[in-house]
């Protein structure tokens, strides 16, 4: 299988860090240890894999699991239009994972969005602030324990700066 070649290569290059590989509905998926994210991504971006594009990054919240958050990255190689999904689970308390801003420029906004919506930290990010919500917003709206219709308190008027 063409799609499994990259998974086999990943398992060989990072025997301790790649926890699980599979092909899910036609897309290869690799589950890795979060500590190895930067190395794995650097490996994938380089020759011969050429996953030069970070298509998307997002997060999933499973409140009942001990490893509450699951980061999901989609990388893409322009030659052959190959896709790969890389996942890593993070603990609920103080969830943080290495920033990919050094590898891809759009990681900046993607990570700000995840920080905003899930409260996952990205050590190494140059300016980790909320992206969509305003300063002073409390909580992280895409977490499962954030109620759909929760109201936020009004902010005091800002002093003229």
């Amino acid at each position: 299988m063409e799609k499994e070649i990259v998974l086999t290569a990943l398992r060989e290059a990072f025997p301790a860090d790649v926890l699980e590989t599979s092909v899910s509905l036609g897309d290869p998926v690799a589950v890795i240890r979060p500590a190895a994210l930067a190395e794995v991504m650097t490996f994938l971006k380089k020759e011969p894999w050429n996953f030069t594009m970070l298509l998307d990054a997002t997060c999933l919240d499973f409140p009942e699991r001990p490893e509450r958050f699951e980061m999901v990255y989609h990388v893409f190689a322009l030659d052959g239009a190959r896709r790969l999904r890389v996942k890593a689970s993070l603990p609920g308390e103080g969830a943080a994972i290495a920033s990919l801003t050094g590898l891809w420029k759009n990681a900046d906004w993607l990570e700000r969005e995840i920080f905003d919506m899930f409260g996952v930290g990205f050590p190494g990010h140059p300016d980790l602030q909320r992206l969509f919500m305003y300063d002073g917003f409390e909580g992280h709206p895409l977490r499962k324990d954030y109620p759909l219709r929760k109201r936020q308190p009004r902010l005091p008027m800002r002093p003229e700066s």
């Binding site: 899910s24 509905l25 036609g26 897309d27 030069t52 594009m53 970070l54 298509l55 998307d56 997002t58 999933l60 919240d61 999901v72 989609h74 322009l78 239009a81 896709r83 999904r85 891809w104 420029k105 759009n106 900046d108 906004w109 919506m117 300016d127 602030q129 909320r130 992206l131 969509f132 919500m133 305003y134 300063d135 002073g136 709206p141 895409l142 954030y146 759909l148 800002r158 700066s161």
Partner: protein, 439 residues
């Protein structure tokens, strides 16, 4: 609260706010500029003014009900958004859809793409002072939306593409409408190219301004016309053909310099290719016969009290095109995924129960446990839906990969060192769509 720009600015620079409500910012977005005279030293883009919690809302709506929210993402080409979501769900379900429905989807996608590009370029031209070009393009868009309205019943919030197929068959007169739309659009494209391609004012504001290199574009995750303007010929329709895109002939126009003008030109040439695809869709779609009119629904219900009424039941006009005899061609046959034909719901107990169960809480559409990422070529680039299903009647998580999110992320870099006036055509050529960016 000081912004990053305020805290880092030199004390002698002028700080200027563009937006969130600015005539040249289509959509609410705030660009803060640090200026030295007219020159931009630094900038900061603030987004989120149109954030409506799309992803959170979707987690609380059933698979069927959340379709209408996808209309409101890229509101200029809602049919492609519908398609992206529906195809991701179909990937989870493993549904095969009938060929006619596939062709209809291709036709509708291309109509939407042309109207999307027309809107983007119209706004861009208007902001550069070319009001004539704006009006011409808006006129062409109306003809295309006439086709869409005729079949789907709505101009923008269509919700036409459904899981398993499309909501209704094409309107019987669609061919004439499509041909008129294509002809009018061709004429407008020719006129607009004549007005803008060698126009000194337009060239002065777009040529060699905000140049993006291919490497940078890839690093920012650019896709669609903006990526192709830098010379990278990546198009989802060609790289991973979905629906019947492998059976139509079209070229992928690419640019050379990656500046504002190339982004304009690639869109112009892409519209010509889309019109080509639209014309190729006509042949497999043309149908001559039309379902005969039948019993009135009330009459049929009354008759059904005694025994099953003979002959077809006439549907209300807003269900036109989804009659039972065309259903197999526009909808998949998988009973667990699609709504039964309305005639069955009116006249048979099985149809009524199936219809009822489809919309009942906890029943209806329930894709199996799993996750799927499905990408289609949207107006702005790769529109991807990442959906996680836990087997229930609503998605566990639905994430949209919005193409213009990645494109607008590069704005700060593109306008650095340029003049204030360059922000306008640069921003215009990106085709920022608030509904899609902020979700």
């Amino acid at each position: 609260m000081t912004t990053r720009l305020q805290s880092r600015a030199r004390p002698e620079s002028l700080l200027l706010n563009m937006g969130p409500s600015h005539p040249a910012m289509h959509g609410t977005i705030r660009v803060m500029l640090e200026l030295d005279g007219e020159r931009i030293l630094n900038s900061e883009v603030e987004v989120g003014y149109l954030h409506r919690g799309f992803e959170k809302t979707c987690e609380h709506r059933t698979w069927f009900n959340l379709l209408i929210y996808t209309d409101r993402l890229n509101y200029v080409s809602p049919l492609i958004n519908n398609l992206g979501y529906v195809m991701a769900v179909e990937k989870l379900l493993g549904l095969e859809i009938p060929e006619r429905a596939q062709w209809i989807r291709v036709l509708m996608s291309e109509l939407s793409r042309v109207s999307d590009h027309l809107t983007c370029l119209a706004a861009m031209a208007m902001e550069c002072g070319a009001f004539t070009a704006f009006l011409y393009k808006m006129k062409a868009r109306e003809f295309l939306w006439d086709v869409i309205e005729q079949t789907t019943g709505a101009r923008m919030t269509t919700s036409y593409v459904r899981v398993g197929g499309v909501r209704a068959d094409l309107h019987p007169d669609f061919e004439a409408a499509v041909r008129r739309g294509v002809d009018e659009t061709r004429r407008v494209l020719k006129d607009v190219r004549g007005l803008l391609d060698k126009n000194t004012i337009f060239l002065g504001r777009t040529r060699d301004i905000a140049v993006m290199t291919p490497e940078n574009a890839v690093s920012y995750g650019w896709t669609g016309p903006c990526l192709r303007s830098t010379g990278v010929a990546y198009d989802v329709r060609r790289a991973q053909p979905y629906l019947t895109y492998d059976r139509v002939a079209f070229d992928i126009p690419v640019g050379e310099r990656g500046d504002n003008f190339d982004r304009y030109l690639v869109r112009m040439r892409e519209m010509e290719q889309s019109l080509r695809i639209i014309e190729q869709c006509l042949k497999p779609l043309v149908r001559t016969s039309r379902a005969p009119a039948g019993l009135e629904p009330a009459e049929a219900i009354r008759a059904a009290r005694d025994r099953k009424p003979e002959g077809p039941v006439r549907l209300s006009p807003n269900l036109e095109g989804s009659e039972k005899d065309v259903y197999p061609e526009i909808m998949a046959s998988a009973k667990e995924a699609v709504i039964p034909p309305k005639e069955d719901a009116y006249t048979t107990i099985e149809g009524l129960i199936a219809h009822f169960k489809h919309f009942m809480k906890g029943h209806g559409l329930r894709p199996p446990k799993g996750e799927a990422y499905c990408a289609v070529e949207g107006g702005n680039g790769e529109l991807g839906f990442y959906i996680v299903s836990d087997g229930s009647d609503r998605p566990y998580r639905l994430h949209l990969r919005a193409p213009c999110f990645h494109i607008v992320a590069a704005l700060e870099e593109l306008i650095r060192g340029r003049y204030v006036a360059d922000v306008i055509p640069t921003f215009g050529s990106m085709n920022m769509i608030g509904g899609e960016l902020d979700r």
